[in-house]
């Protein structure tokens, strides 16, 4: 199939047996709602256009509470509002799939593209960022990680994000759509958290959920259980893509669509005999820090070049993950604009001080 990224996400949600989408218009994610609301009635699925992103997030949690597989999509300023319901989902361990198509920031900025919502999406809200965030780099990944997000969310009951961007949203490229069961992917069904079977008090206890605690210790105890669960799932869900050879002296580190440019640049440079590898975190939260540290430890001389369409958001994660490691760090930071393969190649040639 040949289609836009927004269309891919709608098809992926359909394939994942999502029951309901709640959403509010904001560019560049609108077409997800357009395609979904066109498809939904034919497949017995639901859609509600809400009054804002707060409502989109909270109505989605309502749907999740009564046992439906729900999702929403937003961007930029909408992502800011969405952090409120995400915080509730984190506290109350409510699953759900949140699609973010990053646009320029801060503020309204551009409707086009950026990677400036990395920090907000991974650690937004007034808490610890207990969420799973997949940063995709192609339509095939948009499809497969959206499917995966539905499973991971309902398996671990943490809010799960597909972090795309305006370019991925609007561009058209090839994608192979499939029914997950055809690939042997077992889809985890959603269960009602509230209003499940049985008469409360007679056949079962009523379920009472809250997110308010009276004392510090009560919160601490609850939260640390979530933290432990999160740390336990980390090795199970972290994913990354890397190609680094023993004699490489430079490692490109980038995520999402820029990771794709980095991979392209690294492969082209490798073909020309340059000692350049690449590392692309697929889960940007939890971050594949262990994998990156292994690469850094194997060669203390290995220099890292962090590339992103933001001013140091991925960089700050990389720095934190490599605390105590002496590998030199270089950057190519382009907030709110794309980073082409050519630009990365030029930067590498300049850094390596060799003639191209």
């Amino acid at each position: 199939m040949f289609m836009t990224g927004n269309e891919v996400i709608a098809w992926a949600a359909l394939a994942a047996d999502a029951d309901f989408m709640y959403g509010y218009p904001i560019t560049p994610q609108n077409e997800i709602m357009h395609y979904w609301s066109r498809l939904a009635p034919h497949f017995g699925r639901g859609f509600l256009q809400t009054e804002d992103e707060l409502s989109a997030g909270f109505t989605m949690l309502g749907g999740v509470l009564v046992g439906k597989k729900c999702f929403t999509a937003t961007a930029g300023p909408g992502n800011i509002l969405m952090q409120e319901p995400v915080a509730m989902a984190e506290m109350m361990r409510l699953p759900g799939v949140w699609v973010i198509q990053q646009r320029g920031g801060p503020s309204t900025a551009t409707v086009i593209y950026s990677q400036q919502e990395l920090r907000l999406t991974t650690t937004g809200g007034n808490g610890e960022g207990l969420r799973i965030v997949y940063s995709t780099s192609s339509h095939q990944e948009l499809f497969e990680y959206t499917l995966k997000a539905f499973n991971v969310a309902w398996k671990y009951r943490f809010p799960t994000f597909v972090l795309g961007d305006g370019y991925q949203a609007k561009m058209r490229e090839t994608v192979t759509l499939f029914r997950p069961e055809k690939r042997g992917w077992e889809m985890i069904p959603a269960e009602p958290i509230l209003r499940g079977p049985g008469v409360p008090c007679i056949e079962r206890d009523p379920v009472h959920l809250r997110n308010t605690f009276n004392i510090e210790e009560e919160l601490y105890e609850t939260l640390m259980k979530h933290v432990e669960d999160y740390e336990r799932l980390t090795p199970e869900v972290v994913e990354w893509e890397a190609k680094v050879r023993a004699d490489d002296t430079l490692l490109l580190v980038a995520h999402g669509i820029v990771g794709r440019a980095a991979k392209d640049a690294a492969e082209r440079l490798q073909r020309d005999g340059w000692p350049v590898g690449y590392f692309r975190p697929v889960t940007v939260r939890p971050f594949p820090g262990e994998a990156l540290r292994k690469i850094a430890a194997a060669n203390p001389e290995l220099r890292l070049l962090v590339v992103e369409s933001a001013y140091g958001q991925l960089l700050s994660i990389v720095k934190a993950e490599l605390y105590g490691y002496a590998n030199p760090l270089e950057t190519l930071l382009r907030p709110g604009v794309g980073v082409t393969t050519e630009e990365i190649e030029e930067t590498v040639r300049r850094l390596e001080k060799r003639e191209g």
Partner: protein, 225 residues
């Protein structure tokens, strides 16, 4: 031995009313149908203010990297205002295809674009007048290294078919210049894109096919010494 990797980077620029994005979609769809990798992305958002609509297309026999790029192998320019806008994508060896018709390009002014929602791609349907008034054609930039190919697409469309298919003539010309897209696949892409229209008015199918052929012929004539 793996086949040699190749990649074609294409920029198509014109006024909002000229169907530039349709060309981008058709080329990418045709490439996909030919079993190649393809990636198409429109410019959208504030970027298109100034009325110039740009389509970025990459076609390759291997993986494609970032959706945008710095230098193009082929730049197709449909209006005088697009010349400046695309200058940055030129490099020695770039094929510069342009519409040399003495016909005024159907400009959409900034105010219309602003009102019509700058968050979407160029509102091509809003152009009131498509390629019917006299005016100046595109003057290609000077400088060595460009492979210039001028064709009178708007003129041909107006005289022989319909002003609205000038973009399909350009599309046919691009396909020939690229050398990697069979016209049959472009026809299939047209079929897919305009299925409803063709069903309602079958004569449109024939007109679009003729436009493709006209583009092929025009560009072959332009290349002749």
């Amino acid at each position: 031995m793996a086949a040699e990797l190749w990649k074609k980077k294409i920029v198509i620029a014109g006024e909002g009313g000229q169907g530039v994005q349709v060309i981008g979609e058709l080329l990418a769809e045709a490439a996909y149908r030919s079993g190649q990798q393809a990636l198409y992305i429109p410019n959208f958002g504030v970027e298109q203010r100034g009325g110039v609509s740009i389509a970025f297309v990459q076609i390759a026999n291997g993986e494609i990297g970032f959706p945008k790029f710095q230098k193009a192998d082929l730049v197709a320019v449909l209006s005088p205002r697009s010349v400046e806008r695309t200058r940055g994508y030129l490099k020695p060896g770039t094929i510069y295809l342009y519409d040399e018709s003495a016909i005024k390009a159907p400009e959409i002014d900034d105010r219309t674009i602003g009102i019509q929602g700058w968050e979407t791609v160029a509102p091509e349907a809003f152009a009131r007048m498509v390629g019917t008034e006299e005016g100046t054609g595109v003057r290609p930039p000077g400088g060595a290294g460009l492979i210039r190919r001028g064709i009178p697409a708007a003129q041909l469309a107006k005289d022989k078919l319909n002003p609205r298919v000038a973009n399909v003539i350009i599309c046919g010309a691009i396909a020939v210049l690229l050398g990697v897209l069979p016209l049959e696949q472009v026809k299939a892409a047209l079929e897919e894109k305009f299925a409803d229209k063709f069903r309602q008015r079958p004569e449109l199918r024939e007109m679009n096919y003729q436009a493709l052929e006209m583009g092929r012929k025009a560009v072959q004539e332009a290349a002749a010494p």
